[in-house]
């Protein structure tokens, strides 16, 4: 059995939200009796960026609520998309009169719940648009699947769209920006361990003492290949090869990267891995203009990490990534 610090698995999300809000009252507040975390920041008549999804991925998304990033985040149950009424409520509290832009990760549940919320909000006269993030290339995109999942790259989407909103861009401009951004961003992950949801007794999958799995998702979904544990260099080699195959040959060789810890992997290992990423990118004559290393989009206590590449097609991407924000965890 996996040991966890909690009181009751049924209230874990509720207590976590209270803990966040009590710890950071200057930045965020909870919409009472909901799973919605809203920034305390004064409304200024700008487009609001709202995100959300199942919990268990902390600091995503509530840790990115604040000036310059998200206006609100909706926290569902562990690994479970929030419901339409909660998302609707988040849209309403976030709206500053210029419309609300939703960042949705590509999962059946998220898509359906956010879609219903969007329909309801539009019925109430609020302008809503959205983008679906599907950066996880571990899953094949085809007519016969749900398509690629939304994973760690989502945090770059929050950052870049949050900056655009802060700059006063309209919802149409933000939509266009998002549509330019998504095709330039790819992620792939690997796990050293499976993950156990609070209250269950079994992990999502079990790996032997010397095994890793490439291409896992952030909800304990198994990946595309299981192998013996390798050196950091070899892990980077595999992930980078897989990622670079997905980018069309292009004269633009400037990238931003995320090395994202999945929850149980310490920073030391993440930086060893980041070092190999930097070296191998250089060997490939690719330039890294911005790096983010740390825990951003986790999967409970999973050991492992993911690598995200964002091709800097637009100078605005880099400008947005570099801007300062006032959130708990960016």
């Amino acid at each position: 059995m996996i040991k966890k610090i909690l009181n009751n698995p049924d209230y874990i999300v509720d207590e976590m939200i209270d803990g966040m809000v009590l710890s950071h009252p200057e930045l965020i507040k909870r919409v009472p009796e909901t799973g919605i975390i809203q920034r305390t920041y004064d409304k200024k008549g700008k487009v609001a960026i709202v995100s959300g999804g199942g919990s268990g991925h902390e600091p995503a998304h509530a840790g990115f609520v604040g000036a310059g990033m998200l206006s609100a985040a909706v926290c569902g149950a562990v690994f479970t998309s929030p419901t339409p009424d909660q998302i609707l409520e988040a849209i309403k509290v976030a709206d500053e009169g210029k419309g609300v832009f939703l960042v949705i990760k590509n999962y059946s549940g998220d898509i359906m719940n956010f879609e219903m919320a969007q329909e309801l909000a539009e019925m109430e006269g609020i302008k809503v648009d959205s983008i679906v993030v599907d950066d996880d290339i571990a899953v094949e995109d085809s007519l016969y699947t749900q398509g690629k999942r939304g994973v760690a790259g989502t945090i770059f989407v929050h950052k870049i769209l949050g900056y655009a909103a802060e700059k006063g861009q309209s919802i149409e401009e933000i939509k266009e920006l998002a549509e330019n951004l998504i095709p330039n961003m790819k992620t792939v992950g690997l796990a050293l361990t499976g993950v156990t949801t609070p209250g269950s007794s079994k992990p999502s999958f079990a790996l032997a003492d010397d095994e890793i799995e490439y291409g896992v998702g952030i909800h304990g979904e198994p990946g595309y290949r299981r192998e013996k544990l390798q050196t950091s260099k070899d892990l980077v080699d595999e992930l980078l090869k897989k990622l670079l195959e997905e980018f069309e040959a292009n004269s633009n060789n400037r990238f931003a990267i995320i090395v994202n810890g999945l929850g149980g992997t310490p920073l030391m290992e993440q930086y060893v891995f980041a070092n190999d990423v930097h070296k191998q990118m250089k060997d490939n004559k690719l330039e890294i203009k911005f790096s983010k290393v740390g825990i951003l989009m986790t999967s409970l206590e999973m050991q492992g990490l993911s690598l995200t590449l964002l091709r800097l097609e637009d100078d605005f991407f880099l400008e947005a990534l570099k801007a300062t924000v006032d959130t708990i965890n960016w």
Binding site: G54, G76, A77, V78, F79, T80, S81, P82, T83, P84, D85, Q86, Y107, S108, G109, M112, N113, M116, V139, E140, Y144, T145, Q146, R149, T197, G199, S200, K202, S204, F205, G217, H219, G220, E221, P222
Partner: protein, 192 residues
């Protein structure tokens, strides 16, 4: 179907969901994210609590109550799907349709929301089999079990299970199983 039967149905369905909560989660582990038991259990607990508190007096009131509670308490993929199903059923009931047509409208709404077709290894497979059987007046417990079991050899094409590709083969779909429970308890409620 009438209001008494409908309430009995929901009580029986809730009992089965709570009993089979762990098994549903277990089904959702190899090809999902281990939460279908929790999701359905949370949703159905709210449905029966709302029935007790609000005491719906017509089938239409009951269907409305089921819809709002499933939509606002389940989340994930199953929440909007079951929610859409009951929303469609409520509308068809308002329009005065008979039970077979009501169920069929529920199925149509699931497909409108989730875009799954027969054979995609989802709850839709069970709903299609059941709706057809109800139309022909030949719904049995065996038929339901067979429809649930029939999802096992399929490769998933919708939902989270589609991520594991060929490895989804050999596992019963959790949403198909919970829909099986829904229709087993419907039969039992009608028979009582």
């Amino acid at each position: 179907m009438n209001i008494e039967m409908g309430i009995r149905w929901m009580e029986l369905f809730n009992e089965e969901i709570q009993n089979e909560k762990d098994y549903l989660t277990q089904l959702d582990t190899p090809i999902g994210d281990s939460d279908h038991g929790n999701n359905m259990s949370r949703g159905m607990a709210h449905v029966v609590k709302a029935i007790e508190e609000q005491k719906p007096e017509t089938l239409n009131e009951l269907l409305k109550l089921i819809t709002t509670n499933l939509l606002s308490k389940v989340g994930g993929a199953s929440g909007p799907l079951y929610g859409s199903a009951f929303m469609g059923m409520m509308k068809a009931e308002t329009a005065g349709e008979e039970w077979a047509k009501i169920l069929k409208t529920g199925l149509e709404n699931i497909q409108m929301r989730g875009k799954a077709e027969q054979g995609d290894k989802t709850m839709v497979d069970v709903w299609i089999a059941v709706v057809e059987a109800v139309e022909n007046g030949e719904l049995t417990h065996e038929l339901i079990d067979e429809a649930v079991e029939a999802t096992k050899p399929l490769k998933a094409k919708k939902g989270r299970a589609s991520y594991v590709g060929d490895r989804s083969i050999g596992h019963i779909d959790p949403g198909a199983y919970s829909s099986g429970l829904l229709f087993h308890t419907m039969l039992r409620a009608e028979a009582q």
